[in-house]
């Protein structure tokens, strides 16, 4: 792995993503922690039949979730609108309000996209496991529900638990405040969310940051994702 991971421009950062790739997208769902410049570059790049793995399938463009009033949200919806997604794995695909429809819902209704719904804690634990060399684990979450159907269930200490498998992707898009050229990432506030776990669980991890600094400029105590997990860093300010 090169010791300078800086990538010049978002188009470059995503240029080798092939049709059929699986891509994790970080963030909780709002503006904070969402690598939307990478999403935009991927839309422009045009790769198709993608599997998108993310908490939401893009609800903020119709709800404003986690975006400041007055700003125009951008989210995963741009990929669904553009017909690039074949499969979505996540926890919160549609807006909370039944009266609002997002681009995922429209694509789903047209049967363009398959959905794998996962409880949020199981979702992030599967991703962490994917990065941590744990092929499978048991969790009490979802036992006795339809999200456990077809899965092995075993009782531990009197409690039914579901066996869940690790989740990995070809690419991860993560968002942090600052990167150094070695790929160390510093996060701010609740914008950590799924980013640190996803950074560990992809073959190629690409980080969208506000700025890139030389090694030594991020306090070692504040590194949220050690550089070993990160392949490319690209700055919004570049």
């Amino acid at each position: 792995m090169p010791t300078n991971k800086t990538c010049h421009g978002f188009a470059d950062a995503v240029s080798d993503i092939p049709d059929g790739a699986s891509i994790m997208v970080g963030g909780f769902g709002g503006a904070g922690g969402l690598p939307f410049r990478l999403l935009t570059a991927l839309r422009d790049h045009g790769a198709r039949r993608l599997t998108i793995i993310s908490n939401t399938a893009g609800v903020s463009m119709v709800t404003g979730f986690g975006w400041p009033k007055g700003e125009k949200p951008i989210d995963h919806s741009i990929l669904f609108e553009n017909g690039q997604v074949a499969r979505f794995i996540g926890t919160y695909p549609v807006p909370g309000s039944v009266s609002l429809r997002n681009a995922f819902q429209a694509a789903f209704d047209r049967k363009e996209v398959a959905l794998e719904l996962v409880p949020q804690g199981t979702f992030v634990e599967r991703i962490r496991a994917g990065g941590a060399g744990i092929p499978a684990f048991f969790t009490p979450t979802a036992a006795g529900t339809r999200l456990a159907e077809g899965k092995e269930v075993r009782t531990f200490d009197g409690r039914a638990c579901v066996m869940e498998r690790a989740l990995r992707a070809d690419f991860a898009f993560v968002r942090a405040a600052v990167a150094d050229t070695l790929g160390n990432l510093m996060y701010v506030g609740s914008s950590r969310a799924f980013n640190p776990a996803m950074a560990t669980a992809a073959d190629i991890t690409i980080a969208e940051v506000d700025r890139i600094v030389p090694p030594g400029k991020i306090d070692p105590e504040r590194v949220g994702t050690p550089g070993v997990y990160v392949d490319r860093v690209v700055a919004r300010s570049a």
Binding site: G30, P68, V94, T122, A193
Partner: protein
Amino acid sequence: MSDPAPRLDRDLIAMRVAREFEDGFVVNLGIGIPTLCSNFVPEGVQVLYQSESGVLNYGPLAEEGRGSIDLINAGGQFVTPNPGMALFDSAEAFAMIRGGHIDVTVLGGLQVSRAGDLANWFLPSRGIGNVGGAMDLAAGARKVIVAMEHNDRTGNPKVVDQCTFPLTGARCVDLIVTDIAVIEVLPDERGLLLKEHAPGWSFEAVQKATGARLERSPSLAEFTFA
């Protein structure tokens, strides 16, 4: 079937739920009525709110236009820091939830069964559901309180013998607070105990509005808020 007296509004449901909070409790509030609970925490009780978004001990909502995109709750609202706040990622947020470190979660409900099964994530008419953190909270929180209307818009009971909607969790609910009743789910499927009813209501009136058999608490009383 006509109601013997008015039903409580959402604020009063939330106010009654908040009476269950004890000093130092770590509390996770779902979206909807549960969110309102934070407005009614009793005097002298300090509650630490936890959110799936990776925050422990956040404060009130930010004033309009003053929030930060980097500090949201699980509903996507901008919140403010409390002194002693902690930030962490989603893996940690759910380790906390699933690991039994949350004292109370308050969740909305579509149905709760006699055994304490909860259905709250999937409305069959929509065809797609959001599960979010609900299943983890139902499975992991030490105490699960469901705050909801007692009946749906067409009058059907939401406290039922068996849930017909897909489950969020099996045998997970400890307490149900509705606009007419406070019902304890007795452990080991020993049934539902009516502990409080709304002013002007009676055991019989609440039973009539309910889809499962209720036991009468020896200390059955009107809702208390303070």
